[in-house]
Every structure is written in C-alpha cells, then in structure tokens.
C-alpha cells in the first residue's frame, strides 16, 4: 500500500531537517508513540499504540535510517514493527524529502506500507485511512516542533 503526504511548513528547511533526523524527537510527533530509545547506529526502538475504531493495536518495533543525504535533505527510513495483541506486523519503507519553498519548507513523505497477519484483516480501506491520518498529524506536528 502506497501512501503519500505533502505539506508546507513555515520553517526553514535546515530546521525541519534537524528535527526529522533526530528520530526520537521526530517520533514524538507520531500520535501514540512512546519509549523511543537508540538501538545502535541510526537504529531506534519504540512502541506505538493505535486505535482504529474499537480495535486497539499496540506495536513495538524498530526504525532504521537506511540512507540519508543531508545536502539534498532526503532520507530513507525503514520501519518494522510487530503487533502482539492480535498478531501481525507492519513494515514500511519511508522516503522523506524536504525542499525549500519560499521562506518555508515543503515536506514530502512517501511510504510503502506492508501490513501482515491478523491486523491486515482490518481491511485496506481502514488501514489506509488510519495511516493517512497518522501521516497528516505527523506532518502538522513536525511543523510545530521545528517552529
């Protein structure tokens, strides 16, 4: 499942880039994330609680920065998380790209999401809506944090 999110943030690119690449800080912008800690170079561990309607999911997993280009403000992240309550996992490859947009910064996040196991049975429409919403909130929060 491919998801794309873009927004403009009234903050200079470099400031946003610093926040984005500070994974624990950026992760705090995803609603439901907790307990983020380092797990090696460019690797982080953490938990994510998500509620999709009446269904509560709790993920724990890892995020790794697999590629970054500080000059171009582009990075590729990979997230792998397991959901133990119902059984399942999520794997995402996330491309983040920042670009100057006037005084501010254009943020573009493209993710390719794989949902496996029971939780996948929530259905594609539901998962996509939820993931979209998380991304939107993440984008908005980044803007606030960087400002």
């Amino acid at each position: 499942m491919k998801l794309a999110h873009s927004s403009t943030v009234p903050v200079p690119v470099e400031r946003v880039w610093t926040v984005v690449m500070d994974v624990p800080r950026a992760a705090a912008c995803v609603p439901g994330v907790s307990g983020v800690s380092g797990a090696g170079e460019d690797r982080f561990r953490g938990d994510l609680a998500v509620q999709v309607g009446p269904v509560r999911l709790s993920f724990s997993g890892e995020v790794a920065i697999v590629a970054r280009d500080d000059a171009a403000h582009r990075a590729t992240l990979r997230a792998d998380a397991k959901e133990a309550r119902l059984g399942g996992s999520v794997h995402a490859s996330v491309e983040i790209a920042l670009a100057r947009a006037g005084e501010g910064c254009a943020l573009r996040i493209e993710s390719d999401l794989q949902v496996a196991g029971r939780i996948g049975e929530l259905g594609q429409p539901l998962i996509q809506r939820k993931a979209d919403q998380l991304l939107r909130e993440f984008g908005a929060c980044l803007a606030r944090t960087a400002a």
Binding site: Q51, V52, G53, P54, V55, R56, R85, L86, G87, R118, I119, E121, L122, Q124, P125, L126, Q128, R129, K130, Q133
Partner: protein, 283 residues
C-alpha cells in the same frame, strides 16, 4: 467463546457493567458488526454486555412531530414502521437498503450509528435529516448531532462506556422532499460504492429554500457537500444548476481506491448520483 456475557434489563446496570470493566468490556446490540471483528480476532473483550433486553432502548415513537427511534430497534422494524414511513419515506428506504433481510432483522439502528462505518446507509440519510443521538453515561445524558457523532472510520465521539439510547429525527419543514440512492454496481448484497442522501424544500416561487446533500462511502465519515448545497440554495433548481451542484459534490468527495472502485471513479459516481438524487427531488 471466552468472554462473560451479560444481558442486563436495566440501562443503569448496563452502564455500570461497562464502567466496571472498562477496556475489557464491549457493548453489543445486534452483534452483527461486533461478531465479525471478534471472529477475525480483532476484538478480544473479556466481558460482553448485551443491550437487547434493556426495554428502554427499544421502540419507535413520535415525539411531538419528531421521530424517535430507540437504539435497539432493528433495521427491519424501522424499515417497516408506519411512523418512519410517514415521517420520511426515504429514511425507510435507507434502512431497507442495509445488507439483507437476515442482517436487518438482527442489526440495530443504534449499533449501526455507533459502528460508524462510513459506507453504511442510514448515517448519510440521518445526517441529511439533521438527526441527533441521545447518549447516556454515568455522568448524564447529552444530545450529539450526527454531524458531531462521526469522527473517523469506525470512530465516534461517544466516550468509552457511553451508550446511544435513541436517534431523534426532527420534524421536517412542510414541503421537504427527501431521497436516498445507493449505488451497487456489483451485487445487490453489498455496501454502497457511493450513496447520496438529499433533502430539498422549495419556496412558493420554486426556488430552493433549503437543501442538504450528504455523500456516503466516499470519505472517513458521511460527508456533507455544503458547496453543492450553497450552489442550490436560493436558486431555481433547473438542470444546469443541478449539474453544477453535482459537480461540486464530486469535489467534496474524499474517497480511496479499493475493490469497489478507484477514487477517481467514485468521485465521478458521487457526481452522477448526486445529480440523480437532486433531479428526483425537483421532478
């Protein structure tokens, strides 16, 4: 089944059970939506509180011109109720559009609203009719307009442990006409690919005095197409004006790609079916 099943006959008892067991408890009415999620393993409550025996939640009545449908009234009761038909035939049709007779005999009006699947039929129509639910919790009773009830896919603004007791449909202004259309291109037994609920009232001079257009199945919640309404209000609803409003409804839709069609197709169908619904109201 590995949960305890409670079937209180009093509302207070139901509320107390839900409060006592918190996250471990789940309310059910007809259990049609609950059972699917449960069998898929997506819900794992240890206590299930059945509402069907709570007498005060049932029934359909007229309350000084408003229609009050109890939370545990089934869709079948609602669809066949003379009160509902008299109040608004399109509402009866929306209830009758749900799934199959077997599901409608079991599924309840309150359960439908609380489940908040944006592809369901009654929510769009009830929203077009400006309905509100009555909700109770140990803290008291409140009215929630449908526009505020639906928050997201499967998500309402009900607090944990809060229950819907009824949905209240206000009296329609005289001369108001209503329509509900459900687009089912694959099979008669399906959720809508797109649905449209609309109400319209014309003044003496034939212009549109009041109009509401709600789109189902094309967003995280039913979507009120206010731009389409604005285009019609005060205008003569001729074919061109209706086409313009329908085009605005297309832009109001926020669908996703899925097995029922691409987002682009659903947007286009929102236009076609809005146009058809509106035309039927001025015919």
């Amino acid at each position: 089944m590995s949960y305890a099943y409670h079937e209180p006959s009093e509302l207070d008892e139901a509320l107390a059970l839900l409060a006592r067991h918190g996250d471990d408890a789940h309310a059910v009415a007809g259990a049609t939506a609950f059972m699917l999620l449960y069998r898929q393993g997506l819900l794992r409550p240890s206590h299930v509180v059945g509402l069907r025996r709570v007498r005060s939640l049932g029934g359909i009545r007229d309350d000084g011109g408003a229609l009050v449908i109890g939370a545990t009234a089934t869709h079948r009761e609602a669809e066949r109720s003379p009160l509902v038909a008299r109040h608004c035939a399109a509402l009866a049709r929306a209830f009758a559009s749900v799934a199959t007779v077997r599901v409608r005999n079991q599924a309840t009006v309150g359960g439908n609203l609380a489940h908040a699947d944006p592809a369901q039929d009654p929510p769009a129509m009830l929203l077009a009719l400006d309905a509100a639910v009555t909700a109770v919790s140990p803290g008291g009773t409140r009215e929630i307009p449908l526009a505020e009830l639906f928050v997201d896919v499967l998500t309402t603004s009900l607090a944990p442990g809060e229950l819907i007791t009824a949905v209240r449909v206000p009296a329609l202004a005289p001369g108001t006409r209503a329509a509900y259309v459900k687009f089912l291109p694959r099979t008669a037994d399906d959720y809508a690919t797109v649905s449209v609920a609309a109400t319209l009232r014309r003044s003496e001079d034939g212009r549109v005095a009041d109009v509401r257009v709600v789109l189902g199945a094309v967003g995280p919640t039913p979507i009120r197409a206010t731009s389409a309404e604005d285009a019609l209000r005060g205008a003569a609803p001729d074919a061109a004006r209706i086409a313009e409003a329908a085009a605005l409804a297309r832009d109001a839709a926020d669908p996703i790609d899925d097995v029922r069609g691409s987002a682009a197709y659903k947007r286009e169908m929102a236009r076609v079916w809005t146009e058809r619904a509106l035309r039927s109201l001025v015919a």
